[in-house]
């Protein structure tokens, strides 16, 4: 059993342990859950230390027969991109646990169920990035919706049932389209000497243009719903508004990355020709997402919806970087995925604390928090700065790379995208100004600042954002081989001489 499988099974084992704990002892359950998530984080870091970063090959591979009738295997292995995303996941989960220590207590069900669902979700989040068998990926891709569905519907706020339903229906619809495409790929591989779901073998198939286009769309629409790209985004703001801060963090920070991850891993490697065919259309959608998300974010009165719309804008940047088909763009996009995870976590968690203390989600209900709760206010401020990609924070590096990479091939798109940065300054600064500065309304006067637990939770997030802002090299080193192999495979090269990084 490779360390990767161990890593996947650990949270599941934690869920089993929690299942046998007494339901009344909420504190013990939380401690055990946190313990397991920390253990997972440690194991993942140990795994990362053993990762050969200059190799583009899949590492820690393991393959076992699962459904022999269709040559389906439990096959896992990671390259740099998958490693970066898995590390992001395993680090975010304990932070979410710690930050939302009490958010499980007002739910429809017990604290125990909450943590069982979250730990199952963690197993699936690791598995979805580790899977190298398309069928296994698909199964996890679909199955991981259920824990989130119950987390939103059971522990969220407002019209949580409807939000959960909307989220699930959108995702399942995309998933079913993808299922048809997965079956298509399988049958094509059967006709070309042996049915397989192995992603390396599938990427070597020769597929005619028309089929490629259809199958590409099957995959792409599923991923565009997941990493919400305009016009497939409408489920996201409702979900983010209803979910708890922790669930939102994992939903936007990790789950939605499966969409952009899938675009790189599947769309580009299986269908290089179709990728080139659809690139102009996708770039257009990406630019629309950047601007649309930013404009709508400016108009939001609800903090969580604001964050959701900023994410739509950011997913636009990521998609732009991916489909620019240049190495800077792609590296930037992958790095952006990691940064967005941490940046969104910072936003949702700090916003969640503000909402919990004030009892309102409306930005206008806050004011002058800088005086009352300085640590919370500074954290929110930094999170906001990360969202607008302030130089010195990691999101700047990735956004810059994306724009640089796309400018080389699509100057108009890059220029329009750049205006997204200006709009970002607007939506972040308006929210910051309204909530942190100005008069302190009497209703906010009694708010208490972050306690030690919350400080411990937010510190690593901010540390990562700042550290990677000044020294992105370790992550970029891990990502670069992936970028190179994807580019080579897709048969694209950089249009101009590389800009030194």
């Amino acid at each position: 059993m490779s360390i990767l499988t161990t890593l996947q099974l650990l949270p599941l084992f934690g869920a089993v342990v929690i299942a046998v704990l007494p339901v009344r002892n909420a504190k013990l359950i939380k401690q055990v859950a946190l313990g397991f998530s920390l253990l997972v984080a440690v194991v993942s870091i140990i795994m990362a230390l053993g990762f050969e970063s200059n190799s583009g090959a899949l590492q820690f591979v393991e393959s076992r027969a699962w459904i022999s009738a269709f040559n389906i295997n439990y096959a896992v292995g990671i390259d740099g991109m998958a490693l970066a995303l898995i590390l992001m996941t395993t680090i975010l989960v304990p932070i979410v646990f710690l930050a939302g220590w009490n958010e499980s207590e007002n739910g429809r069900w017990s604290v125990k169920t909450f943590y069982i669902l979250l730990l199952i979700l963690e197993t699936m989040m690791i598995g979805v990035f580790a899977a190298t068998d398309v069928f296994l990926f698909y199964v996890i891709f679909e199955a991981m919706l259920l824990p989130v569905y119950f987390l939103i519907g059971g522990y969220g706020f407002g019209d949580r049932a409807a939000a959960a339903m909307k989220f699930l229906l959108y995702s399942l619809f995309g998933g079913l389209l993808m299922l048809a495409a997965v079956i298509g790929l399988y049958i094509i591989s059967t006709n070309q000497g042996g049915g397989t779901f192995d992603i390396t073998k599938l990427s070597e198939l020769t597929i005619d243009t028309a089929t490629q286009n259809w199958l590409f769309l099957g995959f792409f629409i599923a991923f565009a719903i997941k990493a919400p790209l305009w016009p497939f985004h409408t489920w996201l703001p409702t979900a983010a508004k209803s979910a708890t801060a922790g669930t939102s963090t994992l939903l936007l920070g990790v789950l939605d990355k499966v969409g952009t991850y899938g675009m790189i891993r599947f769309c580009m490697s299986f269908f290089p020709d179709a990728t080139k065919t659809f690139t102009p259309a996708i770039i257009t959608l990406a630019v629309i997402s950047i601007l649309y998300g930013a404009f709508l974010a400016i108009g939001q009165k609800d903090i969580n919806s604001l964050i959701a719309f900023t994410s739509i804008s950011h997913f636009g940047f990521i998609t732009l970087g991916i489909f620019a088909l240049t190495s800077q763009g792609l590296t930037g996009a992958i790095f952006y995925m990691v940064n967005h995870g941490f940046s969104t976590a910072a936003l949702f968690l700090t916003a969640g604390w503000m909402i919990k203390r004030r009892g309102s989600t409306q930005i206008s209900d806050f004011g002058g928090l800088q005086r009352v709760t300085p640590v919370l206010a500074w954290s929110f401020f930094l999170a906001g700065m990360s969202a607008l990609a302030l130089p010195g924070l990691s999101s700047f590096v990735s956004e810059f790379l994306v724009l640089l990479g796309s400018f080389a091939k699509y100057p108009v798109a890059a220029i329009l995208g750049t205006t997204g940065i200006i709009l970002a300054a607007l939506y972040v600064l308006i929210a910051v100004q309204k909530s942190l500065h100005g008069e302190t309304p009497s209703s906010s006067a009694g708010m208490v600042d972050l306690n030690l637990r919350e400080k411990i939770a937010i510190a690593p997030v901010i540390l990562v954002l700042v550290f990677l802002g000044f020294y992105p090299k370790p992550v970029l080193n891990v990502i670069n081989p992936t970028t190179q192999s994807v580019m080579t495979h897709a048969g694209v090269s950089d249009p101009v001489a590389k800009v030194a990084k």
Binding site: R108, L146, L168, L169
Partner: protein, 504 residues
């Protein structure tokens, strides 16, 4: 001088054992003291099924096309279907054993004084057990029959007891009797269609056997008005039994009116038997003429999937909803039938087995949800069940997720194998139609889960009775099978692949 036909009793034994058990059941009903009957009937029925299954298991690798002269063909598909039907019967009878669902004296008119007396005396008639066994024997014969007379006899043997069983409900008896009458009348029509089709095919080919029919098609080129009409009429009879659109209209009424344990058994086993016969007729008898029927059956598959899924959305009654869901599933299985390759065959076998088990479990749970006046199938009153009885609601959700084809349940693997077989045969539009109607279907399955878990119970919500041990066993087995076949489908997929062949 007539000589007695030579019969291979070892191969026919599973059917004969069930028939024997049914006859013993009739005698028990007539001669044994009231107090012992229920337990004895249950023991005979379960014992018969177990012995029959054991015998079937023993002969599982034998094949013969002359086991009963040339009337039946014991081959992979036949044995698999017989096994599946026996499993459904076993699980079904465990739920049927809860006699509270059945009228104490079915012959008493609803609302009459005899009925009141029968209710008061607490004397419960138990004819449902032998009736079930008779139906099972017909169902086991139907998928192995290879000539039209045997097919017709099997069809009637399986149908007639079901017509009666549909009318046995203890509560809402008029609805139940209406269902029985409807089922009987429409069933009689469809049998007539089937027979008429068989007669036309006899006129065309001069033989009653499926193999003879194939030879005749090869001889004549397969474009003859008798052949085409025969196929059309025969298909009507078969499509009625499997509940495909536009011959589906009996399904919701009968599913709703029949006593729920019977509905569950019928939904699983009748569908399996009817599809078993359908695939044999189409693969063995009419394969050579596939150009004449494939396009129309494909269209029927598409409209069955779509109409089943769309109509289910507006249902307000759990049993009617499951009925429409079963119609949609019939469409999925038809998709495999028209694919006409070996993978489609094994996919059909797997799907029927997985769907049947989940169906029996789901209807088993419907029998548990009651108020003071009996079973409640009104959807609005299921609201908030997840709060009151989390376990029952979770298991029910599991079955729904399997129907919806969510990964890690048996339904997903079934759907996947059917779609890949359809894709393989080049019917990509069937895959697309299947995927889109799955998306519609997901909506109403999820809406139920939403109602169970995310809505607060209202005052007239229902409660869940504590299930009897037998019902509990049946539902537990169904749930375990649904999960296990979702996580480790190889256990059954490989078996289905080994048994996916016909003896021509």
């Amino acid at each position: 001088m007539l000589t007695a036909p030579k019969l291979d009793y070892a191969l026919l034994a599973p059917i004969l054992i069930i028939l024997g058990a049914a006859l013993v059941g009739v005698l028990v009903e007539a001669f044994i003291k009231q107090a012992w009957r229920a337990k004895l009937q249950l023991a005979i029925a379960l014992g018969g099924i177990i012995i029959a299954f054991e015998q079937l298991f023993r002969v599982r690798n034998q094949t013969s096309s002359i086991a009963a002269v040339t009337s039946v063909s014991i081959d992979g598909v036949g044995i698999f279907m017989q096994g599946a039907i026996l499993v459904f019967a076993f699980l079904g009878i465990l739920i049927i054993a809860d006699q509270d669902n059945f009228a104490p004296q079915a012959s008493a008119l609803p609302g009459s004084s005899e009925e009141a007396t029968a209710l008061q005396s607490g004397k419960q008639q138990t004819e449902v057990f032998p009736l079930t066994l008779f139906a099972v024997s017909g169902m086991m014969l139907f998928p192995i029959a290879t000539d039209f007379i045997t097919l017709f006899v099997a069809l009637e043997v399986l149908s007639l007891p079901l017509y009666l069983m549909a009318g046995l409900s203890r509560r809402r008896r008029l609805l139940s009797q209406e269902a029985a009458l409807k089922y009987f009348l429409l069933g009689a029509y469809s049998s007539a269609f089937f027979l008429f089709g068989a007669a036309l095919l006899y006129g065309y080919s001069g033989t009653l056997s499926l193999n003879g029919l194939t030879d005749a098609i090869h001889g004549s080129g397969g474009n003859d008005v008798f052949l085409l009409l025969g196929i059309a009429f025969l298909s009507v009879g078969l499509l009625f039994k499997v509940g495909a659109v536009p011959f589906h209209s009996w399904t919701p009424d009968v599913y709703q009116g029949a006593p729920t344990p019977i509905t569950g058994f019928m939904a699983a086993a009748t569908k399996a038997a009817a599809f078993g016969a359908t695939i044999r007729i189409f693969y063995v008898g009419l394969d050579a003429a596939q150009l004449s029927w494939k396009p129309i059956i494909s269209i029927i598959a598409v409209i069955t999937m779509v109409i089943g899924s769309v109509a289910a959305i507006s249902q307000r009654d759990m049993k009617r909803l499951l009925a429409f869901s079963s119609i949609a599933h019939a469409g999925f299985i038809l998709t495999a039938v028209v694919s006409l390759n070996k993978n489609a065959l094994s996919a059909t076998l797997f799907y029927l087995a997985a769907y049947g088990v989940a169906t029996i479990g789901a209807f088993g749970i419907v029998t548990l949800v009651r108020d003071s006046a009996g079973e409640v199938s009104d959807l609005n009153r299921w609201v908030g069940l997840g709060k009151k009885s989390p376990l029952v609601a979770s298991v029910f959700s599991l079955f729904l997720l399997s129907f919806a084809g969510i990964p890690l349940t048996s339904g997903f693997v079934g759907k996947f194998s059917i779609f890949s077989a359809a894709y393989e045969s080049g019917n990509i539009y069937l895959v697309v139609a299947g995927v889109l109607s799955s998306a519609i279907a997901v909506f109403f399955y999820l809406r139920i889960i939403l109602m169970l878990f995310f809505a607060d119970a209202t005052n007239d919500s229902v409660s869940v009775i504590i299930p009897s041990l037998l019902t509990r066993i049946s539902i537990t087995i169904s749930a375990l099978v649904t999960i296990i076949l979702g996580v480790a489908p190889s256990l059954l997929l490989n078996v289905a692949q080994n048994f996916a062949y016909f003896l021509r």
